[in-house]
């Protein structure tokens, strides 16, 4: 501390160094506050602007001449998922849930009462349409990164064979046979998909405590959905 000339004793000192130190602390606090606001703002922008779009391509392998599935064939839905990230944050794909339904023609016309009871339904203007769930999967996706200010497309194939699920595969075979005979194409039945994606915002620590406030646990993740969920 600076010793000043002082008529009231040698112990009185100027508080100027304390003010200078306080000014330095104030600068640090302002920098931390602005940095926090920028970080928070970038997360809010990511939460508000990130969008997804999805397209599925259906492929039948191992088919008869009329296009229907053989017993050792396979039904593949290739999901092309595009994540558009206009924000300045790096995103990481964490969880992907995918469901796909094909319109159950035989059940709709009353040829298969068992499936008619099990199918998911879509209430249309003219009546109820029946859809057989072909895929219903949820999985963790590791290493899929979406850089800032970019759109990245990911491809996820989902394959159904008799080995994977015999009951479901037989149902799909039956449905493709129905559409091939009535509409001329095995894949003529309406296909409905639903995708749910969990994206993690990089650099945002995830609260692991069960007592953490809900907004702390959710602010670092982005959830997006696309398509129609017939199961809900």
């Amino acid at each position: 501390m600076t010793e000043r000339s002082n008529p009231f004793g040698p112990h009185n000192r100027s508080d100027r160094p304390v003010w200078l130190f306080a000014a330095a602390i104030t600068t640090v606090l302002i920098a931390l506050a602005i940095g926090s606001a920028l970080t928070y703002g970038s997360v809010v922008v990511a939460q508000a602007t990130v969008s997804i779009s999805s397209v599925t391509t259906l492929t039948l392998q191992g088919t008869n001449p009329n296009g229907t599935l053989t017993a050792d064939g396979s039904f593949t839905a290739t999901l092309s998922l595009t994540v558009d990230n206009p924000s300045s944050r790096v995103l990481r794909l964490q969880l992907l849930a995918f469901s796909g339904w094909v319109e159950d023609g035989p059940a709709s016309v009353g040829l298969n009462e068992t499936r008619r009871l099990q199918d998911d339904r879509l209430l249309a203007g003219t009546g109820t349409r029946y859809f057989c769930r072909v895929f219903g999967e949820s999985r963790e996706v590791a290493g899929s990164v979406v850089p800032p200010a970019s759109a990245v497309a990911f491809v996820f194939p989902y394959t159904l064979t008799r080995v994977v699920n015999a009951n479901r595969f037989d149902a799909v075979r039956n449905i493709t046979q129905y559409w091939a005979s009535t509409a001329g194409s095995a894949t003529a039945g309406t296909w409905i998909r639903w995708v749910r994606v969990h994206l993690v915002i990089e650099g945002v620590p995830v609260a692991s405590s069960p007592t953490a406030a809900p907004h702390i646990t959710t602010i670092g993740t982005i959830e997006r959905m696309d398509g129609v969920n017939l199961a809900s």
């Binding site: 009185n12 000192r13 100027s14 508080d15 606090l29 606001a37 703002g41 809010v44 620590p205 609260a207």
Partner: protein, 161 residues
């Protein structure tokens, strides 16, 4: 007479400026700690959950510093009480800052109630911490004989008389 009045007014103005500066300093610390306690994982430094060490460290250090610069108890208490609403305003401004980017999906009054409600523990603990640390700071100020510039200039004037 006129010069005495002028000196008195300028002294009063200097005290008001000092109170305003110190209230702002304490309010900044309250606002920052309240914001970091509400959004610990998206602030600087980021952590999974609010850091008690960081919050108490900032509040205690700023209270002590403010005490070292405070001249009397009355002013100290006033600036402590002023710092709480100032801190609330600063925390609200920080929470509202994404509006500058054009992306604010929540209403401003919802954010205000959010910041008030979730920051309440900070506002409540800041008050006693500040009162204690400002008083401790003032004791240290007396111990080290710290005096403001106006004190020295007033002393010199009195000496000249």
């Amino acid at each position: 007479m006129a010069s005495t009045l002028r000196v008195d007014l300028s002294d009063r103005a200097a005290r008001l400026v000092r109170v305003a500066l110190l209230s702002g300093f304490l309010g900044l610390a309250v606002g920052y700690t309240a914001f970091t306690s509400i959004f610990p994982n998206v602030t600087l430094p980021a952590s999974e959950e609010p850091s008690l060490v960081l919050i108490l460290g900032v509040l205690v250090a700023s209270g002590l510093l403010a005490g070292l610069m405070t001249e009397d108890v009355r002013m100290g208490v006033i600036q402590v009480f002023l710092s709480i609403p100032l801190g609330l305003i600063i925390a609200f401004a920080l929470a509202l800052s994404p509006v500058l980017t054009g992306f604010l999906v929540v209403q401003a009054d919802d954010i205000f109630s959010f910041v008030t409600r979730l920051g309440l523990p900070i506002y409540l603990i800041a008050l006693p911490i500040y009162i204690i640390t400002v008083l401790v700071g003032m004791l240290l100020r007396e111990r080290f004989g710290l005096r403001s510039r106006s004190y020295f200039s007033a002393s010199s004037t009195e000496r000249r008389k």
